[in-house]
Symmetry: D2
Subunit: 369 residues, 4 copies
């Protein structure tokens, strides 16, 4: 009989509101009932397991130790993208850094820690590592984490609601200045490949145009949209731009550069600055704001806390059921799980002709395309 | 050919954050495109259509007139439960008030106003009236509105997210006092028949016990749960109580009264006071808070704004498609619609043995049953 | 030479946002510089010093241990009104409880702990004890704490800004419902003797009438004010009531009871319920909300964090200067200090004919008197 | 006898939360009492008075028309820095733009509008114009408006509290990411000449270093401060930078450029980017955030609403008293007024050796100097 006595938890990748809520739910679910098990927190993601230290960096996690973290942003375990066990940078005697597969060490340390299961909370990259470890025999359960909400295997991920919340609060503030001073405000939100944050924030925040990576924009179309607004009496414009939004090829004198080189957009000052520059001929006084890390940190919204809590509790159900190499997810109003193999690498993008875009267009929002 | 040239919008029932966002979306969707139609706002729900005034109380709605209302709570049209056209109180010559069917007058006024369609935003009662008018030939589209999120025909309704948001913000505030002063805080939230607000707020706000109407509580079970918490070192307790939560019959000396008479709970000071009184023997210093109308008013969350906007845009799609006697809804991530007949009267309650309750129990939350 | 090597900190009385910010500032000021001293936290106010335990309940406080508490409500030290060293309840051999002076034990324990100074954070009662201990030789510095802002020795106290903030957020929410549904909302805020919270919240939240203890109200005057509003087209009313607001004697049939017995107001359901009941003849649909503990807990506003931080730093300056039996304060924009003897027992009430009341009246706010 | 029958209100300069609250208070104070007067709103600041239109751009302001604006950011009157009557750009027949004194036209239009007084809400530049108009006979009352709180004639101005509130909310969000990911966050706030926002936000938000214009920083001193923090175990740093903060001359290779040219800081990407770049040698992963217009717009805090309301009511008291060429102000807890001549051009800067800096240093905050 294969009893669970001790489990590990780790968080990997960028910051995301709700990580602590997952950790807390896992710990409580592991310890609240009659079959209470020990929980060990791995520090700094996979680096805590395979780092050069003589031993893994871990700490015991108890319900008492998790008090108060439900509403706290960040992660008490630290998080990083360093430490991929399958491609770990190892310094050679001659000083050179060589990337090596140290997954044996990783598995050995999981065994040495006596972990009967490992719950891995992370984005696509972290979950891919988790799946590879599972293929090598580790008892892993994945919990998806992406602010961008661009994972196809779940309807929604925690952190997304908070990011949109922050973006809409910002739009609410920018709006009054735009109105009072006849201005255009161009606000850049996260979303390198997927425009979900931009689309939701724009719809909820009353944006007049939304630019997303899935719909490369034509500057002339965008300008015409804003001019029509002005002609009908609007004295101000709110434009939400995903960081990955870019002009159609050939549209701007610099657009071909952007197509040619991934860094070109950044060199131009980012997506918002590119739009503002491109709209200069309109002669509207314009201000840009790049929300940046405001979207990733701080107290999660209640919805993200609930989602993260349910994901944590569901992950522990998979552990009890010895159902490994799977990821928890939400479908409709039901919490379920899918094979990790089906979850990783499947990006969910905004459909250019999908329902939300169609509705947004119907209420007069422009997409510059 | 049956073109749409003019539509009406009305809001009925209690307050709910997002009503204005629906109105704005309807108006923008009706007027933004090439097939722009006139929109008429009916004031004060059905009372504006059938009231004793010589004419209906209406006002034109334009996109310009709807500027700034996306984020505003309440409804610019007024809202009330008065004015049921099928049971309207009419004063007789002798001074007596008699309830009469004045639906003929209602239909006549819809015709006189030249409304090719009427979008009705309201709760179960209001939508039932809308359906009855549809049966009598009116071109109505329904938009569901319930803070309690207890409509089975849609996964979620706008207003609910805001109510939970307000409740969780309150729990966050109460928590620090409870911790610092070794207290029990009992917070009462809305939910006369359905415990959704209590359940979501309790999960997201870190409650230690949640009492909902679907699971009548046993005081001894609840007390034992809190005593176990105290025994394991917890110095404080957060209890969330739905206004409709009540003890099991026979459990309290006054419980049989509560079962016998719907007003008994209120006479005892409400659900929270009843719980606090019942737990007095525990000897824990206890404070109660009744959130009341804080949950119904004010700025909607971004999620409610998005949901309300999408509902409004979808309602207008039904109008363009001449698809009447239907209600818009959300299923998973898809906005759709259902026959009004299938939507009204179908309450969605928390399943006592369902997924959320099971998860909540697994992380140590008590339900007193 | 009388060097400081070790100090103590305690928090007494009810909850107040900013307590932790004071503690953190004290600890950082005590430990940041070259003349770093040890800081000991006394738990549960004076009860931690004089309680029946064999030793005082204390814990070391370090800068690292205070990380993250700046924005946290409550107090990490616990707080209570129990434990007055000059009137401590002691159980006699025969089982009777007798109130005794145990200040000798208190002073002895301060000495035994090696405390060269004791920083006492508390309200009027707690500071009076601090002063009495100073008279008996203890090196105490006081930091004022009152949500009600009713201390005459300082322009403002931390916690007040947060309480007003919470009250105004609530008014913002109630307002939209009041407007949409033609209602009167009566909201009760803290303030048993002083109407500062009610006055500030009412002014900032757009109240139409404000009732404060300093101005007992006449129901007829209040009703006439609201009727004038209604006559000029207002469909709703927001009334803010301090918990200590009460009708003038003889004004209500039950007013004489209220004058005669301090508990009568509470027995009537509190100040808001009394007003609502008294205004029933107006026939306006009315809802009441008692904010209660929402005002005392949770994250302090930035202003309260700054104020509390400055108070803590200033308290430590007094310790370095060996300037004891004094309380820190703010006058205008200058942080200073006053003798504790001058600070305690001096309540600052709203002047019935003062500037703020005059301005409030000038913009149409009624006071029912 | 010189009765007041009609007054004007205008708002000038940049956006500032609380402008609408002042307008509302003026209108209510002007119309609530028995000596009710008409209020006329001038649109777009002085440009509405002296613009090229055939008539001034004005609109009547009533109490009903001001409903709901107390909590709304921006200004319903529009605001701009255009339209200085003493230096107005006039296009000549040959197409050239020549700056001319059109104050005669301004005074004539004030007279033609029948304004017995003009309340001017604005910053230093706008108030200087107001004073100059007063010298030419106009009955003006000034209301100070500056987000930066850098006016010496008043203890505090509305808008400042909101700006600090927004900055501290942002710090709260950035903090969790900094902690979880071992990062330095450099946040840039407003304050070209005065560091008040940076200082207050840094103190209330738990910053570890604050850079302000009044204390040009030495990069080595700043780096040493952060290294001491790291040596004592701190894994993250929060740095708040005023937009006008700059390195001491000679300190950076590019510092002499900054001293030489006011635009150099901007060309380097702003104050935060300059700091981040200068600290690169420390090898700490660093992110920057420029808060920008987030600080100027949106709902004012309750304190700013109260302050703005009191300023508006006090301005109207000056009008009733025929006390012109004066500006309202707050000293301690008293609302008063000063001659406009004494108010304009008197900037209030942070004292480098003042109380707040001293306290901030005492709790371990570094200033890089």
């Amino acid at each position: 009989m294969n009893l669970v006595r001790r489990i590990g938890v780790l968080t990997g990748g960028g910051d995301c509101p709700g990580l602590n809520a997952v950790i807390r739910a896992v710990v409580r679910a592991a310890t609240a009932g009659p079959r209470s098990v020990e929980v060990v927190g791995i520090e700094d993601g996979f680096d805590g397991l395979v780092g050069d230290d003589s031993a893994p960096r871990v700490r015991p996690l108890t319900a008492a130790g998790c008090r108060g973290i439900l509403s706290r942003g960040g992660t008490i375990l630290g998080s990083t993208n360093r430490g991929n066990p399958f491609a770990y940078p190892v310094r050679q005697p001659d000083g050179a850094i060589v990337t090596m597969d140290v997954s044996d060490r990783c598995l050995a340390r999981i065994a040495a820690l006596g972990l009967d299961a490992l719950i891995v909370i992370g984005g696509d990259g972290t979950l891919a590592i988790a799946h590879d470890l599972a293929l090598r025999g580790a008892n892993v359960v994945g919990v998806p984490k992406t602010i961008d909400n661009d994972l196809s295997a779940t309807d929604v991920t925690f952190g997304f609601d908070t990011a949109v919340h922050v973006a809409v609060e910002a739009l609410d503030r920018l709006k009054t200045t735009a109105e009072s001073h006849d201005r255009m405000m161009v606000m850049e939100v996260m979303g390198r490949y997927a425009g979900w944050i931009a689309l939701h924030a724009g719809l909820a925040g009353g944006a007049h145009a939304i630019l997303i990576p899935e719909l490369p924009y034509e500057l002339g179309t965008l300008a015409a949209h804003l001019q029509r607004r002005a002609a009908s009496g609007a004295n101000h414009h709110l434009v939400v731009v995903a960081e990955g939004a870019r002009p159609q090829e050939g549209e701007l004198s610099f657009a071909s550069d952007i197509q040619a080189s991934p860094g070109a957009l950044r060199r131009l000052g980012g997506a918002a600055a590119t739009v503002a520059k491109g709209l200069e001929p309109l002669g509207i006084e314009t201000r840009t704001l790049v929300l940046g890390h405001l979207q990733r940190g701080g107290t999660p919204t209640q919805r993200d806390r609930l989602l993260a809590t349910a994901f944590g509790a569901r992950a522990m159900e998979l552990v009890w059921a010895q159902s490994f190499d799977r990821m928890v997810c939400l479908r409709g109003t039901t919490f379920g799980d899918v094979p990790l193999a089906d979850a990783v690498g499947q990006q969910k993008l905004v459909e250019p002709n999908g329902e939300l875009i169609r509705m947004a267009r119907s209420i007069g929002i422009g997409f510059g395309a």
